[in-house]
Symmetry: C2
């Protein structure tokens, strides 16, 4: 029954990060105790402090990794070759793949925007606000180019950005929370939702545009 001396298929540190992400996502920051996490790792609570100096630092590390992983997966399609429609759809698909593979990461990012008070709350808010601003800046450039290319209705880029963020956040919310066991349902309809979204912002050379002329 005794395992070989090497840490096994994954290091304790990796198992700690995975267990903590799961529990933070499932119960929130306060609801996931260090004892719970230790139990899931298969170790006693004080041992966790060999890897992270505090619960706050553990959470911050997971949050940073979550954001970085998310960006690494989802951003390339936005900068790729192709029409703006294809690029944005690629960005959406990569985001949804990431959400499916690492739901904990996305839930941690979403719950971090509220529910955290005091010092930790401020650190988290600053981190998220920075990334969000950077993301919005990139999207602004993207949509300005899409308007110039005639692919998208000539609305102000910031409105198109808000429209996209609204759509994406709505999709993420449903993917993660609202459906529960029926998540597959929603994913099956993603392309139809995408079509309706794009239909709303696409340019219409063949008719007068009453909204944004």
């Amino acid at each position: 029954m005794s395992l070989p001396p090497q840490p096994g298929p994954t290091s304790t540190r990796d198992r700690l990060r995975h267990a903590a992400a799961e529990l933070f996502a499932a119960r929130g920051y306060v609801g996931a105790s260090m004892s719970d996490i230790a139990k899931r790792v298969g170790v006693r609570k004080p041992s966790l402090y060999n890897y992270y100096p505090s619960k706050e630092e553990l959470f911050m590390d997971l949050l940073k990794s979550s954001i970085d992983d998310w960006l690494a997966v989802s951003q390339p399609p936005l900068e790729a070759e192709g029409s703006c429609c294809e690029r944005l759809q690629g960005h959406l698909h990569k985001t949804m793949e990431f959400t499916q593979e690492c739901p904990h990461a996305v839930v941690i990012c979403r719950m971090a925007v509220n529910q955290l008070a005091g010092d930790l709350g401020e650190r988290v808010h600053a981190l998220l606000a920075g990334h969000r601003e950077e993301y919005r800046r990139r999207l602004g450039t993207f949509f300005a180019a899409a308007v110039t290319a005639g692919e998208v209705s000539p609305a102000p880029p910031e409105i198109l950005v808000l429209s996209w963020l609204t759509f994406l956040d709505g999709v993420l919310f449903h993917q993660l929370f609202a459906i529960g066991k029926r998540g597959a349902d929603y994913r099956d309809h993603l392309d139809e939702l995408w079509q309706l979204f794009w239909r709303g912002i696409a340019s219409r050379p063949e008719m007068e545009d009453r909204s944004f002329a």
Copy 2:
């Protein structure tokens, strides 16, 4: 310094409910302690148990009230006279007014969909799932009628429902969380976002519809 014997402009029970809603919304269920709530009410912790037998019951009562108030405000426009476009937009506006006036109520509904484990989690999930199913049923009827009336693209009603829920949840997310101090910004652009959303699902008698023919 001593107040008159009547409970004041609002009863202790009302102040308790208000304080609890604020704290639950700000810090989550676990993060808002009964001591915190009591402090905000201006009373000692054990006194709270004269009004509610437990923290769980207090939360459940707030959650139920939040849902009921939300529905009471937002549903009438859906059933009113007028075009489907006007009715849905009225429903959106009433929802946003409610969100602005009672942000705690909306945050409590949103946080309740996750972050709650055990017995309470199941009770909350059952309550929310019931209301959500009822809401989707009503929306299904609404969109089926909108398609029949020729106001909306002839897509399957359930897709139109999902599209609306995605839009609404995205809007609520931004209104509540993503912007923080800049909530006013977002509200100023709500009508433009609505236009882009409706543009996506509206029927187009003047052209061939490539998406849903």
